[in-house]
Structures are given as structure tokens and as C-alpha cells.
């Protein structure tokens, strides 16, 4: 724990405060000013210019009855749950790399995992957009050539999915409302995120070798080792990743915007709160309303984070 400094020392070392000013100013300008401005403008009918009209809580009351906004929360909830499961491959990959006996191979696998990080996210999104292309995409080609398309067509007939999988007709993954959420979930397969793997790996590396030695003496199986030693000891990292993932998923809309456009694609099936906020601001020109939506989204994320911190505890 840092020790408190005396008043005399604090005054004597006044020059050091100059080093804090740039960071402080930048945070104030780029983090706090926009937030405060958004709070202020959420009480106005504001089109982004210098003309605005105070309307009190009208933006918030409109948002409460905005079915597109709340519909977006349903979509985002599904994506959050799916993203929870999509963390499993990252944990698995981290454990497998950690268990490698050769340090050299561990190093190379870490490099392989980190290497895709240098590809800009936008490029990855475009590549995936091409994967979903109905006529030239990899996904449909794979389904056709592996024979899985036939199974999907049969399942469509059996379960009445509404003819989204038809024989001889390429599947429009981003053109059919019922396929949009599956496509958004499928995105990023095999879901091994470099940041996640590195964070889990850091957690795993902090486990002492004596724990493994004791476990081996007790004759634990690899699965027992994972469930009784590794997973409980990296729960701090898992919780951190869950919080980051939830915030990222709730705030994010780049994926939906790029794959589906500003209206969330057919049926608005890919509309998420962030995209709706963006749509209202930059397409409808309702900046004041978008600020109110942003604040509501902020409150929602804050509540979820508090719940997460309070109820998802890590017992060491």
C-alpha cells in the first residue's frame, strides 16, 4: 500500500504535478467533457447544431416507449450469452498452451495467437462479410460441399424455419432475419481471441508449480486438474473478461453496422442499442435523443457491472 506523503513533501515536489497535467487535461477533454455534454444535451431537442430546445425528460420518456431500442436489448442479450460461451475456446487454448512442456513451443504458440492482432479489425470484418456472401462465400461453399446443407434443408422443413434453407438456393446469412443472429454468433469462429488467451495465460502462469506437483502425486486426471485447479485459480481473469466482454458487447455496434447497415439488416434483426443510438444521431439527426439513449445504455451497463461485482465473487 502506498504511504501518504506529507504536505511539506507534496509542496516541495510541485514540479512533478506538471507531468500529470497533460494526462489530466486529455482525460478531461476526451472522456469527461463528451460525457458531461451528452448528459446536458439529453435534455434538449438537438439536431447537432447551435439550435436546441429544452424539453426536460421528453427524450427519456420517448426512449422508454421506443420498441426498436428495447428490441435491441433482446438481441444484445442473446449475443452476450453467446459471447459467454465463445470464451470457452480462449480458455481451452490458454490451458493447452500452458500445459505444453516445451518452452519454445509455448513461445511459438503465443506468437501464433497474437499474430492475427496485427490485422486491423475492419479487415477481419470485411473478410467475414465475404465469408457470408451467399454466392461466393466460404460458409455456403463449405455447407454445400460437406453435405451439411442437405441436413439444414431437412431441418428447415421439419421445424418450419420459414424456408431459409432451400435446395439449390444459396443461403442468405445476412439477408434473412432469422439467420442474422446465428451469423453474428458464428462471426469470429473459432473464437480464440488473442487478448483473452494472453490474459488467461497470465493467470495460469501465476499458479505455482507445487500445486501441480501435489495434484500429480494425488493422481488427478487432466480434466480434474482443469476443473479443480486451473479454472478456480483463473476466475479473477475470467471475471475480468466477462465484464469487458459485457461492456464491449453492449456498447459495440461496429460489427452490426458493417455487416448489416445502419438499419440492422432485414427485419431489423441485427439492431442493437448502440447501433440505434448511432442511427438516431447520424441518420435521423436526433442528437439529443441519441444522447438520452446513450445515457440509458450507460446506466444499464453500470448496473450489470455492479451486479457482476457484487454477486460473481471469486473465492481464493
Amino acid at each position: 500500500m502506498a504511504l501518504p506523503i506529507t504536505r511539506k513533501k507534496a509542496l516541495n515536489e510541485w514540479k512533478l504535478y506538471f507531468f500529470v497535467i497533460p494526462s489530466f487535461l486529455l482525460i478531461a477533454i476526451f472522456a469527461y467533457y463528451p460525457t458531461l455534454s451528452a448528459i446536458y444535451h439529453s435534455f434538449f431537442r438537438w439536431g447537432g447544431g447551435d439550435t436546441k430546445e429544452f424539453i426536460g425528460l421528453e427524450n427519456f420518456s420517448n426512449a422508454l416507449g421506443d420498441k426498436v431500442f428495447w428490441g435491441g436489448f433482446v438481441t444484445i442479450s442473446i449475443l452476450v450469452v453467446a459471447n459467454l460461451f465463445k470464451m470457452i475456446p480462449s480458455i481451452t487454448a490458454a490451458v493447452l498452451i500452458h500445459r505444453l512442456k516445451s518452452d519454445r513451443w509455448q513461445y511459438w504458440y503465443r506468437v501464433f495467437v497474437v499474430l492475427p492482432m496485427i490485422v486491423p479489425g475492419l479487415v477481419t470484418l470485411f473478410v467475414w462479410k465475404f465469408f457470408f456472401n451467399p454466392n461466393m462465400g466460404v460458409l455456403n461453399a463449405f455447407l454445400e460441399n460437406s453435405g451439411l446443407k442437405g441436413l439444414l434443408v431437412a431441418a428447415d422443413r421439419l421445424f418450419g424455419w420459414g424456408g431459409v434453407f432451400l435446395e439449390g438456393v444459396p443461403t442468405a446469412w445476412l439477408g434473412e432475419p432469422v439467420l442474422i443472429i446465428p451469423a453474428l454468433i458464428l462471426w469470429g469462429f473459432p473464437w480464440i481471441g488473442a487478448v483473452g488467451v494472453l490474459i488467461f495465460l497470465a493467470g495460469l502462469q501465476s499458479i505455482g508449480t507445487e500445486v501441480y506437483e501435489a495434484a500429480e502425486l494425488d493422481g488427478v486426471t487432466p480434466f480434474q486438474k482443469f476443473f479443480h485447479i486451473e479454472l478456480p485459480l483463473i476466475m479473477t481473469q475470467v471475471r475480468l473478461m466477462v465484464v469487458l466482454m459485457m461492456i464491449g458487447t453492449l456498447q459495440g455496434f461496429g460489427l452490426q453496422f458493417l455487416l448489416l447497415g445502419q438499419d440492422g439488416g432485414p427485419g431489423g434483426a441485427g439492431m442493437v442499442p448502440g447501433l440505434w443510438m448511432f442511427n438516431r444521431a447520424f441518420f435521423a439527426g436526433e442528437f439529443g435523443y441519441a444522447c438520452a439513449l446513450g445515457l440509458m445504455l450507460f446506466v444499464f451497463i453500470l448496473l450489470l457491472t455492479l451486479i457482476n461485482n457484487k454477486y460473481i465473487r471469486v473465492d481464493k
Partner: protein, 537 residues
């Protein structure tokens, strides 16, 4: 432990450097934010932005800028090409943030209020000759009359002002792969009517089935398909538009007039004209490649230039790109619409006219411009006959100025002014109505789509979306009218102080007309809004 002198000096240097960098960065930002034009000694920088990233256009702009800079070495002209996908967001951010370039292409994302608030009207210069036309046949001719459409495309009916000047005229056409057409039909005759287009599409499908080649009749995408589908829908609704059209200033597709009429039962989603239009859209969608609604403009162009589709409907702006990429002969034709009285489109009146399209690439002067006189001079330079000739020669786009000889490639894209004007589009050209229609289009043109399914999807949300759009338009018009009121008050006061000033009197007269028109438009929108609201209760 105390600091040594050396450490003190090093720390001092470190702190000094940090402060210096900080001050320089801050100064740089303040300097850049200070205006859109920067003066470096004697030189002035003029920046202009546009979204036309198609082949040849940037080069044409570069050549015009270079020609201007050669005549004015003290002026630096900087081109800012902005991708179409982000242009709207970019534009709003620049305008609102006060960092907009001096000249911006007008159209995309520019609502009426933004136009009034952020752009300088070109009404004053419209009546004066373009000085850069000196020595040409257009010398002494008022600027307005130097354009093939008399600057109609630049005129705002509500604000009663001209905004910007046009550099090109663009039209939407059907592009054909002539080699493939010959291979399939044995002829190179292009379809003239929608019926012939359908027959040709059937032949393509039969050819694809027989040859085993993956060839589709029309390359579609969420960008390209609306251009042709909208044309077909509008071919059926011209009668409704005429029925609900009122007011000398209203264009045939006036949003508030159409919306009010929808609320009052003047037309409904179940009218035979609307159903016929939707059926045309549905039928045409079956001749595009499956899943086209998820594809973008580049995907459709790729299909076409790869020979995987016989036709593509797009504008003249894509001609250069397509010509340079296609290794087959191109045929260009008008978008076929149903023949009058035909079975497919019983409400069609005939070939669609380009009269409502007019000129394009309208470049407007922004209000934040620091050197308006230089920027205006460059704007007029771009719009002069010699520069418009250079424009068409380099970009291969159709010209906008009278007397300019179009490049041979641009000839098929010259506007076709005969024929009939279409009616309104179902999306009414407004944000939320467009979203409702766009979100449900898969129910119309998807593999299992139908007109009934589409109507079922849009019916509950259509009028509420129209109402939402009306509220926004009405509010924008009100703000715009209020602004004009203030300016009018100030001008009237100035005119009273200086009764001899003819120029001030003219300005007051002109602005009075603008205010009256703005208030009329506002009142009409408000009335339409009330009607829609009442019908929703």
C-alpha cells in the same frame, strides 16, 4: 536523497521538452480548428470534399485544381475524397464541429435545415455571368443559363434559394454484357420495355440451366436493386401523385402531400397502383442473384464484370469503373418500364423521363469558409465551360454545362427528357419510412416473399414511421423559418437605415419570399402531421 545537479538539469530538460510538445500540439490543434482555410504567408488553402471515389473523378478534380493553381500560384487547392459509406457521418461531424471544408458536395445527408444553416446560397451569383466563361460562347450569359437544366437541381423549393453549382449530369441506366447477350439470344437488341426485360431474363435462366453456368439475369445488391425497383414502382404511382399533388411550389412527390393523403385515405397500401408496383418489384427480384439484399454495390459490380450476370442497373457514375474492369463489350440502355396498359404494369404511362433527375455533383460553399471570395472563384472556375469540358474528358462523366461535348463514353448517359415522370416511391425518401421499407424488403423479394407478406410486415409501422418523419421535417422547417425571420428582421432594419440601397431592398424582397415559402411549407407539414396523428389515434 537529494537530487544531483546533473539530475536536476536532466529533469528540467525532460519537463521542458514535455511542455514544449504539449504547447506545440495544443497550438497546432487550435490553429487547425481556427478555420477551414489556412494562410501560410501569402498563400491561401481552399479545401473541397466529395464522395465520388469512382474511377476518373478524382483525377478530373485534380486536373481542374492544378489548372486553377497554375493561374493562382498563391492558392493551394486540396481535394478531400470521402468514402460514400461514411460521408453522411463525416459531413455532419464536420459541419457541427465547425471544421467543414470550404466547398462540399451537396446531397447526401444534407437535410433542408442543414442546407440553410451551413451553406451559402448561390442565388446571387446565379443571375451574374460566370467570369471564367469569358472568351467562350457563354460569355455574358447568366450562370444559371449556362447549365443544361438551368440550375433546377440546385434550387430549393422550400428555401427559395439556389445552393451550389452542378458539375455533371448523371442518370441511371441498365448496363448489358453484349457478348453474353449475343451468346444467349443471338442478337444484341436491348429490351425496351419491362415485358421484354422479363422475357430476356427468362432466356438467361434457361441458358444457365442448360449450360450449367452460374449466370443470373441481373446483378443485384441493396444499393443497385432499389434504383431499378424504385423506377418500376414509381411507374405505377404517377396517377396517385397527380391526384394528391397540390400547391404551386410542391413537386409531384412532395413528402407532406403524399403523407397527408395517406392519412386521409387519399391512397392506401392496398390501392391497385401500389399493389401493381409492389408486384413488379417482387417479380424483378426473382431475376437477381439469391441473397442480393445482403450485398453491397461492389459485390454487384463484381458479379457483372465477372460475367456472372447479364445486366446491372446503376448510374453513369459507375461507367468508368465498369468499363475499365469488364473484358466484354458494354451495352447501355434506359431502364425498361412496363408499356402503357400492359399486363405487368397496367398503370404505366410510358418511358420514364430523366427530367426529375437533372444535374448532379453539386458543389456548395460552406458558411464557415474563411475566404469565401477565393472559394467562390474556384467554384465558378470548376463550373466554367472549359473546365467542364476537362471534367468530362478526364472523368468520362456527362457534362452539366451547355455546349460541352460529352466524352463518347458519356453519351449514352445524357439525360433523356422525353417520356413521363414517375410518381412517389413507397419509402417517401424519408429516414424512418425508408428504414421500415428497407427492413421488410426481404419479405417482398426473398425466395419465400410475397406482396401480402411485405404489406403485413410494414402495415403496423408504416404510418407511425411517416409521422415520426413528419415531426422531424416540421421541426427542421420551423427552425429554418425562425432563422430566416431573424435575418429578415436584421436586413429590414438595415434597409430602413439606408433607404437608398437597392441591393438591401432586393435582399429583403428575396428573403421575404423565402420566409413566406418556408412558413407555407412548415404549415403544410404541420397540417399533414396533424392528419397522420389523428388517423393513428
Amino acid at each position: 536523497m537529494g537530487e544531483s545537479l546533473r539530475e536536476k538539469i536532466l529533469n528540467g530538460i525532460g519537463l521542458g521538452l514535455l511542455l514544449l510538445c504539449f504547447v506545440i500540439s495544443l497550438g497546432r490543434i487550435m490553429w487547425d480548428r481556427g478555420g477551414n482555410t489556412q494562410e501560410h504567408g501569402e498563400s491561401v488553402t481552399i479545401r473541397f470534399a466529395h464522395w465520388q471515389l469512382e474511377g476518373g473523378v478524382r483525377e478530373a478534380f485534380d486536373e481542374i485544381a492544378a489548372a486553377y493553381m497554375k493561374l493562382h500560384p498563391e492558392v493551394e487547392v486540396v481535394q478531400i475524397p470521402v468514402p460514400e459509406r461514411i460521408f453522411q457521418n463525416w459531413l455532419i461531424t464536420q459541419l457541427v464541429g465547425g471544421t467543414a471544408p470550404d466547398i462540399i458536395q451537396m446531397g447526401m445527408g444534407l437535410s433542408e435545415d442543414r442546407q440553410a444553416r451551413f451553406f451559402v446560397p448561390s442565388t446571387e451569383v446565379a443571375d451574374l455571368p460566370n467570369p471564367w466563361n469569358r472568351g467562350t460562347e457563354l460569355e455574358g450569359v447568366p450562370l444559371r443559363e449556362t447549365f443544361i437544366d438551368g440550375m433546377e437541381s440546385c434550387f430549393n423549393n422550400s428555401l427559395l434559394e439556389y445552393y451550389g453549382v452542378p458539375l455533371s449530369s448523371y442518370t441511371v441506366r441498365m448496363y448489358y454484357n453484349l457478348d453474353l447477350l449475343h451468346e444467349i439470344t443471338g442478337s444484341e437488341e436491348l429490351p425496351a420495355t419491362y415485358g421484354e426485360l422479363v422475357e430476356l431474363s427468362k432466356k438467361v435462366l434457361a441458358y444457365a440451366a442448360k449450360s450449367g453456368q452460374k449466370v443470373f439475369p441481373i446483378a443485384g445488391s441493396k444499393y443497385n436493386s432499389p434504383t431499378i425497383m424504385s423506377r418500376l414502382f414509381k411507374s405505377q404511382t404517377a396517377g396517385i401523385s397527380r391526384r394528391v399533388y397540390y400547391g404551386a411550389l410542391a413537386e409531384p412527390t412532395n413528402f407532406s402531400a403524399i403523407a397527408e393523403s395517406a392519412a386521409n385515405g387519399g391512397w392506401t397500401l392496398d390501392d391497385p397502383e401500389v399493389l401493381a408496383g409492389l408486384k413488379l418489384m417482387r417479380d424483378l427480384g426473382q431475376y437477381m442473384q439469391p441473397g442480393f439484399l445482403q450485398l453491397g454495390r461492389d459485390d454487384a459490380s463484381f458479379y457483372f464484370v465477372q460475367g456472372k450476370a447479364l445486366m446491372i442497373a446503376t448510374g453513369s457514375w459507375d461507367a468508368t469503373s465498369i468499363t475499365s474492369q469488364a473484358d466484354f463489350r458494354l451495352g447501355i440502355g434506359l431502364i425498361p418500364v412496363p408499356a402503357p396498359g400492359s399486363e405487368q404494369g397496367p398503370y404505366s404511362e410510358g418511358i420514364a423521363s430523366d427530367a426529375s433527375i437533372g444535374t448532379g455533383v453539386i458543389m456548395g460553399l460552406t458558411r464557415d469558409c474563411e475566404h469565401p471570395e477565393v472559394a467562390l472563384d474556384f467554384l465558378l472556375f470548376m463550373a466554367s465551360q472549359p473546365m467542364n469540358q476537362l471534367w468530362t474528358d478526364v472523368s468520362k462523366w456527362a457534362p452539366s454545362v451547355v455546349g460541352v461535348v460529352p466524352d463518347p463514353q458519356a453519351k449514352p448517359f445524357q439525360p433523356f427528357f422525353d417520356g413521363y415522370l414517375g410518381g412517389f416511391d413507397l419509402n417517401l425518401g424519408q429516414t424512418d419510412t425508408m428504414r421500415i421499407i428497407s427492413n421488410a424488403t426481404n419479405r417482398l423479394v426473398g425466395p419465400t416473399g410475397s406482396v401480402e407478406g411485405f404489406l403485413e410486415a410494414i402495415r403496423p409501422d408504416f404510418l407511425p414511421a411517416v409521422e415520426h418523419d413528419l415531426v422531424r421535417v416540421e421541426r427542421n422547417l420551423r427552425v429554418s423559418a425562425q432563422r430566416s425571420d431573424t435575418t429578415l428582421g436584421a436586413l429590414a432594419w438595415m434597409a430602413l437605415q439606408d433607404p437608398g440601397s437597392v441591393r438591401l431592398k432586393e435582399k429583403v424582397d428575396l428573403l421575404s419570399q423565402t420566409v413566406v415559402a418556408g412558413n407555407l411549407n412548415h404549415a403544410r407539414t404541420q397540417r399533414a402531421n396533424n392528419s397522420v396523428r389523428k388517423s393513428l389515434k
